[in-house]
Every structure is written in structure tokens, then in C-alpha cells.
Amino acid sequence: MPSAPPLPSDSALTEHGLAPDIAAERVLVIGCGALAREILALKAANGWDHIALTCLPAILHTHPERITPAVEAAILKHRDAFDRIFVAYADCGTGGQLQATCDRLGVEMIAGPHCYSFYEGNAAFADRAEVTAFYLTDFLVRQFDAFVWRPLGLDRHPDLRHTYFAHYTTLVHQAQVDDPVLDAKARDCAARLGLAHERRFTGYGDLAHALAQGAAPGA
């Protein structure tokens, strides 16, 4: 069984991403820092030793217009060193710009609007059409303060909570793994936002399929 490489802390993944592991692997996955733990878990579970992973800072999601240029820069930086590159981002608020850039550069990426959708499965997520759900993945539960609480200014102005969340009803924790500590933290996040809590186990959803299709040997 291949062993998983040591994983940086979630704070490091949020602020700095992950540098590529440049072993003798031929496929580079350029992903969002919020997916690093899950991609490495899938890599280990499937024995995808040919895959190297580099991640951009997950916090780019608070400025989606910065994602496409950052991904393009990463592709241009690394593509000569690898036979193939796969982009582990969905549209992620780029309004089709990331897909257009990947098409132009001849690189595949994950289908779907965002990770909430592909973790659940794009078709199933679209069918649910949950307008009033606020989603957190395992990563976002762990990084709730960095992604939600502080950027929205709720640490400084808790009275703004109603302004942001008045129309939401439920915090849906899309769990990638079974972890009672994370479940408790997700319940706490829901309470802090004044929302009902729902835990929904998704596993890795379409991420596993997308990596198998886009980055597996001979894909």
C-alpha cells in the first residue's frame, strides 16, 4: 500500500496552498487548497503514485476573479515538467472563465459549479435545488473562521449576522469522512450563524470520478 505524504495544516493550506511533490510522477493535479486532503486521500487509496499535487491557496475563493489567472499561471509554470495537467477546480464562481482558460490551454478540469455540487454529485445537487441551504465541506468546517466568520466581519460586528443570513434556513455539512469532532464543530458553526444543522455524508462524490477520468494513468 502506498503511504500518504505528510499533510500541511489547514491554516497553511488556506493561506499558502501546497507546493508540488515533484517525484517521478507524470501527471500534475493543480487543485484548490480546500481539496488537498481529499485528493491525497484518493491518491493513496487508489495507488496513483504517478500523480503530483500542487494546490493554490484556498482563500482565493473569497476573490473568485483571482482564481483563473492563478490557475493559468500555475499551468504555465509547471506544464513543461509534466506529461499532463489536471485542474481540480470546478467553475468556483469564475463564471465560465476557468473552463475557457482550461480549454484554451488544453487542460481538463472538474465539471460542475463548485465543490458543494461535485461532492454531492452534480446531478443530485442540481435536483435538490436547495435555495436556502448554506454549505460547508469538511475543510470549510475546519476553516470556518478563516472563510466565513472573519471575512464577513462577524468577529467584529456580530450584529451583521442577520444581514448576511436572514434568508438562509439550514447549514448543510457535507461530510467527506466520518469524524465526530468535525460533526460537533459543524453543529457549533450552525449555532453561531443561527441556522438549523444537517449532516449529509457525501464521501468524495464526483471528485473521485473526475480524478479517475482526468488524472489516472492512461486517462
Binding site: 469564475t94 463564471g95 465560465g96 435555495v131 466581519g153 451583521l160 444581514t163 434568508h167
Partner: protein, 234 residues
């Protein structure tokens, strides 16, 4: 003790100083101080429209510019907006009584499938501040609601907002329905929201994409003036 000495008594300020202080208080999102300042200016004989434009809108314009330039962020803008809203709620009934200028009428709402209304609410407030009558349809609006409201209210402008890339295509559904009913050219259609851009606005057949609330106001004024000119020439 030092705090007491530093406290500014608004009612003791000269009017010019008071207005500048209100700009600062708006910037800092101080709701109570804005309410107090508005009442003082009214007591000093300022017309409600003058209070609105010179104390509130001018202050909020500074906030908007600093947001655009990356100096202020969303939470601070929201606090400023809440303070301005408090001041406006004092002025609104008075504006109606004193015959403030009317620029035109706008129907605005967030599109179907989308519950985000922060940007839309800012646009509504700034449009009202600029003298537009605003009919706010709220969130999650189907095409029928936009068209029915635009017709019933005899609106000049239809405004649509979306925060999600998954919901912004619905704006085209609304515009296509207006075209199909032969009423598209009866309205100025303005669109906005974080994931939109000018190219998207053009592609769906809107009259303009508005990057922020200040741009929405300027764009609306420009289109209304153009409409009036066309009628005058007509």
C-alpha cells in the same frame, strides 16, 4: 476622562462641520449619530432633500469609492449602509411632503433561485438617495413577477441581481420573456452581481451591467436622461 474630553457634541458643531462629521460617522457606521445629525440639520432648517444629498448620499459616495478602491470591505459598507438607512427612514416621509425631485421608477429584485440581497439592497438605497422611486421585489423572483411589477408600477427601469453563477443565466430568461411579449424596449434593463461582467450583460441583452451601487445610479441617470431626450426629440 480622556474619552469624555474627546467626545464630539454634534449639536455644538457649526453646520458645515456637522456635515463633515456626519460623513465620518457614516464611514464608521454610527447609526445613532447619523440619526442625531439628520434631526439637527432638519431643526436648523435644512430641506430634507438637502440633508439627503449633502449629508447622507455624499457620505455614502465616499464609502462607495473606498469600497471600489479596496480600502473598505463588505462588513464596513454594510454598517455604513445601515446608518444611512436609519437617516433615510427619518427623511423619507418628509421627502414626499416637500416635493423632492423624482428621477424615475425602478423595479428591482434578486432572480429566481437566489436569496442573496446585500448588493440589491445597496443599489435600492442609493437609487432612492438619488431620487428614484424604488419598488423592491425581494429575493427569488420568477420572470412573471418582474414583468407584472414593471407593468403595474409603470417602471422606467428593471433591475436584476444575482450572486451565483448558477442563477445569473436566469436574467436572460427574464429579458427573453420581455422580448417575446414585445415589451423589452419599454424598460431600461440593468443587471448586477459579483459574478457578472460587461460581456455577460451584453450577451443576455441587458442595457447595462453595473459593477456597484454607485455605477448603477450613474448608469440609471444616464439612461433616463437619454430617454427624456428621445421623448423630447420625438
Amino acid at each position: 476622562m480622556a474619552d469624555e474630553e474627546d467626545d464630539i457634541i454634534l449639536s455644538e458643531l457649526e453646520t458645515e462641520e456637522l456635515v463633515l462629521q456626519m460623513h465620518d460617522d457614516l464611514y464608521d457606521g454610527l447609526r445613532d449619530e447619523i440619526e442625531e445629525g439628520v434631526n439637527i440639520l432638519l431643526e436648523r432648517g435644512w430641506a430634507p432633500y438637502k440633508v439627503l444629498t449633502e449629508a447622507l448620499v455624499a457620505g455614502m459616495t465616499i464609502v462607495g469609492n473606498d469600497f471600489r478602491d479596496g480600502i473598505l470591505f463588505v462588513p464596513e459598507v454594510l454598517l455604513a449602509a445601515n446608518a444611512m438607512k436609519a437617516g433615510m427612514s427619518i427623511l423619507k416621509p418628509l421627502l414626499a411632503e416637500t416635493g423632492a425631485p423624482r428621477m424615475g421608477k425602478m423595479v428591482i429584485g434578486t432572480v429566481k433561485g437566489d436569496i442573496h440581497d446585500i448588493g440589491k439592497n445597496l443599489v435600492s438605497m442609493m437609487m432612492e438617495g438619488a431620487g428614484f422611486e424604488v419598488v423592491d421585489l425581494g429575493i427569488n423572483n420568477p420572470v412573471e413577477k418582474y414583468i407584472e411589477a414593471a407593468q403595474q408600477e409603470e417602471a422606467d427601469i428593471v433591475g436584476m441581481s444575482a450572486l451565483l453563477t448558477t442563477t445569473m443565466p436566469y436574467m436572460k430568461v427574464v429579458i427573453d420573456a420581455m422580448v417575446a411579449q414585445g415589451i423589452r424596449d419599454d424598460y431600461i434593463v440593468l443587471v448586477g452581481g459579483a459574478p457578472l461582467n460587461e460581456e455577460f450583460g451584453r450577451a443576455i441583452g441587458a442595457d447595462a451591467y453595473c459593477r456597484d451601487a454607485a455605477v448603477a445610479v450613474e448608469t440609471a441617470k444616464k439612461f433616463i436622461a437619454r430617454k427624456h431626450n428621445a421623448i423630447a426629440a420625438g
